[in-house]
C-alpha cells in the first residue's frame, strides 16, 4: 500500500478520493448556507455602518450614526425610545419563556402519566398548534378578545379597558399571544425529560420526609433541566425577534424590536438603521443564550 492509500471503514481508498467525496457531499449544502445565510449576515453588518441615501438607498460611506441613533441620539438631543424597545423585547422574551416553563410542567406530567394510546392522542394535540402557522394562531386571539366575549368583559369590569372595546391592542394581548405561541416549544422537550425521569430519586426524597416543594427542587427540577434548556432556547430565540404577535395584538402601543426592524425595511426604507437594530438584536440574543448556558452549567455542576 502506498503512502497515499489507506483503509477507511473497510474500503481501500486514497486521499484524493476521500477529498473528492467530501466536496461532492458537503459543498452543495454548505455553499447554499454560506451564500444565503452566512454571507448575507456579514453584509448586514457592513450595511449597519453605511449611510442612507436620500432615496432610501444604501450609500457606502462609513458612519457610526446608526449606532448613536440606536443608543438614543436624535435631532433634538437624546431619547430612550429605541433602547426601551430593546429592553422591552428582552423582558417580554424572558418572562414569556418563564411563563411557558411554569405552564408546561403540569402539561408534561399529565402527558407522561397517560397510557400509550391516550398519550399519542395528547401528543398529536400538542403538535398541531406547534405546527400551525403563527399568523393564524395570532389572529385567532382577535376573535377571542372581542368585546362581546368574557375576557374583554372581565377586563372592562376590572377597569383595565373601556367597556364595549376589544381587549386588543394592548400589553395584555401581547402577553397572551406570546405565551400561547411558544408554549408547545417548551412543553414538548420538557415532556421528553419528564418521561425519562428517574422516580427512585423522588421516592427517596419522599421517604426522607422532604416537603413536596423541596422534592420538586432537589429531585425533579435538576433532572428536567436538559429539557428546559432546549425548550427555553427554542422559545427565547424567536421570542426576541418576534414581530407577528406585537404587530397584530400590540399595535403601536407595545412595539418590540421586531416591529422596529420591520419598519426600517418597510415604510421607513432605512436599511442601514434597520441593519444596526438587527445586529443589536443578534448580540442581545447571543448574550442571553451564553448567559443561560453558563447558568445551566453552574446548576448542573
Amino acid at each position: 500500500m502506498t503512502n497515499d492509500t489507506r483503509v477507511h471503514r473497510g474500503e481501500v481508498v486514497d486521499r484524493s478520493t476521500i477529498l473528492g467525496r467530501k466536496l461532492l457531499f458537503v459543498v452543495p449544502g454548505m455553499a447554499w448556507i454560506v451564500a444565503f445565510l452566512a454571507l448575507p449576515c456579514l453584509a448586514l453588518v457592513a450595511v449597519a455602518f453605511a449611510s442612507r441615501g436620500n432615496l432610501g438607498d444604501v450609500e457606502w460611506t462609513f458612519t457610526l450614526e446608526n449606532f448613536w441613533r440606536l443608543a438614543g441620539k436624535d435631532l433634538f438631543g437624546w431619547s430612550p425610545d429605541n433602547l426601551m424597545i430593546l429592553g422591552r423585547s428582552f423582558w417580554v422574551a424572558m418572562v414569556s419563556t418563564l411563563l411557558c416553563v411554569i405552564l408546561s410542567f403540569p402539561l408534561a406530567f399529565f402527558l407522561a402519566s397517560r397510557g400509550p394510546k391516550a398519550r399519542a392522542v395528547w401528543m398529536t394535540l400538542l403538535l398541531i398548534p406547534f405546527w400551525t402557522n403563527l399568523v393564524i394562531r395570532t389572529y385567532a386571539w382577535l376573535l377571542v378578545l372581542a368585546p362581546e366575549l368574557p375576557i374583554a368583559k372581565l377586563l372592562a369590569w376590572l377597569g383595565i379597558i373601556q367597556p364595549g372595546f376589544p381587549a386588543y391592542p394592548s400589553e395584555f394581548a401581547v402577553w397572551i399571544g406570546m405565551v400561547s405561541a411558544f408554549l408547545p416549544f417548551v412543553a414538548l422537550p420538557l415532556y421528553t425529560a419528564v418521561d425519562k425521569l428517574d422516580w427512585s430519586l423522588v421516592e427517596a426524597s419522599q421517604d426522607l420526609y422532604a416537603t413536596p416543594w423541596r422534592t420538586f427542587w432537589t429531585a425533579i427540577w435538576p433532572q428536567t433541566l436538559p429539557g428546559i434548556s432546549v425548550g427555553a432556547t427554542l422559545t427565547l430565540v424567536p421570542a426576541m425577534g418576534m414581530f407577528v404577535v406585537p404587530d397584530m395584538l400590540g399595535g403601536a402601543r407595545y412595539m418590540l424590536v421586531g416591529n422596529l426592524i420591520q419598519q426600517q425595511f418597510g415604510t421607513a426604507r432605512d436599511w442601514p438603521f434597520g441593519a444596526m437594530v438587527s445586529i443589536a438584536l443578534m448580540a442581545l440574543t447571543l448574550a442571553t443564550l451564553l448567559m443561560a448556558g453558563r447558568k445551566g452549567k453552574e446548576a448542573r455542576a
Binding site: 471503514r9 473497510g10 474500503e11 481508498v13 467525496r21 457531499f25 458537503v26 452543495p28 449544502g29 447554499w32 448556507i33 444565503f36 445565510l37 452566512a38 448575507p40 449576515c41 453584509a43 448586514l44 450595511v47 403540569p106 406530567f109 399529565f110 407522561a112 402519566s113 398529536t124 394535540l125 400538542l126 403538535l127 398541531i128 398548534p129 405546527w131 400551525t132 402557522n133 403563527l134 399568523v135 393564524i136 389572529y139 385567532a140 386571539w141 382577535l142 376573535l143 377571542v144 366575549l149 400561547s180 408554549l183 425521569l197 432556547t233 430565540v237 426576541m240 425577534g241 407577528v244 421586531g258 426592524i261 425595511f265 436599511w271 438587527s278 438584536l281 443578534m282 440574543t285 447571543l286
Partner: protein, 268 residues
C-alpha cells in the same frame, strides 16, 4: 408512571384550552352564516364555496404549495448529502467545528435577522447581476437556506442508528462506493429522509417572516394573504381559509408522526 392528581390534570386541560380555544373560534366562525359580529346566524359552507371563486386566494394557495414543494425537494436533497458527508466521512477538528457552527446558525438566530439579511443580499445581487428580483425564486432560496439545517439534523440522527458494519460488509463483498450507498445506505435511510422532507414541508408552511420580507408583489402566499386581510379587517372567508390551512397542517403532522413511529419500530 403514577397518575397525576386532579389539580395537575385540570391545570393541564386548562393549558390545552388556552391553545385550542382561539383555533376553535376560527373554525366555528368559518361556518357561521352571519357576516358581521359574533352572533350565530346558522350553519353554512358558503364561505368555503366563496374561497374557490376568489382568484387571489387560489393564486396564493398555489404559490404556497409551489414554494413548499420546491424548497422541500431541494433542501431534502442537499440535507441528505450533507448528513452523509458529515456523518460518514473523516473530518478534522477545525473543519468539523466550522460545519457544525454553520449548521447551528439558524437555531440560534431569530428568523427576522435572516429575513432582512436576505433582503440586503438580494438587493446587492440584483444591482450586480440584474437577476434576483424579489418573487417566488427568492422565497424558495430563503426557505431552503433555513430548512437545510433542520433536514440534516433529522437525517443525521437516523444515520447514527445505521451500523457501520453494514458498509464494511458491502465493501468486503467488493461493492463500489456508489453501489454501497445506493443498495445499502439509502434504503435504510428512507424513513429518515421522508421524515426530514415532512419537516421541511411543515417549516415552509409554518413560515411567515422569511416569506414576508422576500416576497415580491406577485408571490403572495396564504400566510401573507391572511396577514394582509387581517389588517384590512377579518372576514368569514379568512376563517374558512385558515381552517383549511389548519386541516392541511394536521394531515402533514399526522403523516410526520406516523413516519417517526414507523422508523423507530424498524430500528428497534
Amino acid at each position: 408512571m403514577k397518575r397525576t392528581g386532579w389539580f395537575v390534570d385540570t391545570f393541564a386541560i386548562g393549558v390545552f384550552a388556552l391553545l385550542y380555544i382561539p383555533l376553535l373560534c376560527v373554525v366555528i366562525f368559518s361556518v357561521n352564516a352571519s357576516k358581521m359580529g359574533l352572533t350565530w346566524g346558522g350553519f353554512t359552507l358558503s364561505w368555503y364555496a366563496k374561497l374557490f371563486q376568489n382568484d387571489m386566494i387560489l393564486h396564493a394557495a398555489s404559490n404556497s404549495l409551489i414554494l413548499a414543494l420546491v424548497s422541500t425537494v431541494i433542501s431534502t436533497f442537499l440535507g441528505t448529502f450533507l448528513a452523509l458527508g458529515i456523518q460518514r466521512l473523516p473530518w478534522g477538528k477545525r473543519s468539523g467545528a466550522a460545519i457544525e457552527g454553520l449548521l447551528n446558525l439558524p437555531v440560534v438566530t431569530p428568523d427576522i435577522i435572516f429575513a432582512v439579511a436576505l433582503v440586503i443580499a438580494f438587493g446587492a445581487l440584483r444591482s450586480l447581476t440584474g437577476f434576483f428580483e424579489l418573487g417566488l425564486p427568492t422565497m424558495i432560496i430563503g426557505h431552503v437556506a433555513f430548512q437545510v439545517a433542520f433536514v440534516t439534523l433529522v437525517i443525521r440522527s437516523r444515520l447514527q442508528g445505521i451500523a457501520m458494519d453494514l458498509e464494511e460488509a458491502a465493501f468486503d463483498l467488493y461493492a463500489s462506493y456508489g453501489r454501497m450507498l445506493w443498495t445499502v445506505i439509502l434504503p435504510l435511510l428512507r424513513p429518515g429522509i421522508l421524515a426530514g422532507a415532512a419537516l421541511a414541508f411543515t417549516l415552509s408552511l409554518d413560515d411567515f417572516v422569511i416569506s414576508f420580507f422576500t416576497a415580491g408583489p406577485d408571490s403572495i402566499t396564504l400566510p401573507l394573504y391572511i396577514y394582509a386581510a387581517v389588517h384590512r379587517g377579518v372576514t368569514p372567508e379568512i376563517h374558512a381559509l385558515s381552517t383549511l390551512v389548519m386541516v392541511l397542517t394536521i394531515v402533514v403532522v399526522s403523516l410526520m408522526q406516523w413516519l417517526t413511529s414507523h422508523s423507530e419500530k424498524e430500528t428497534a
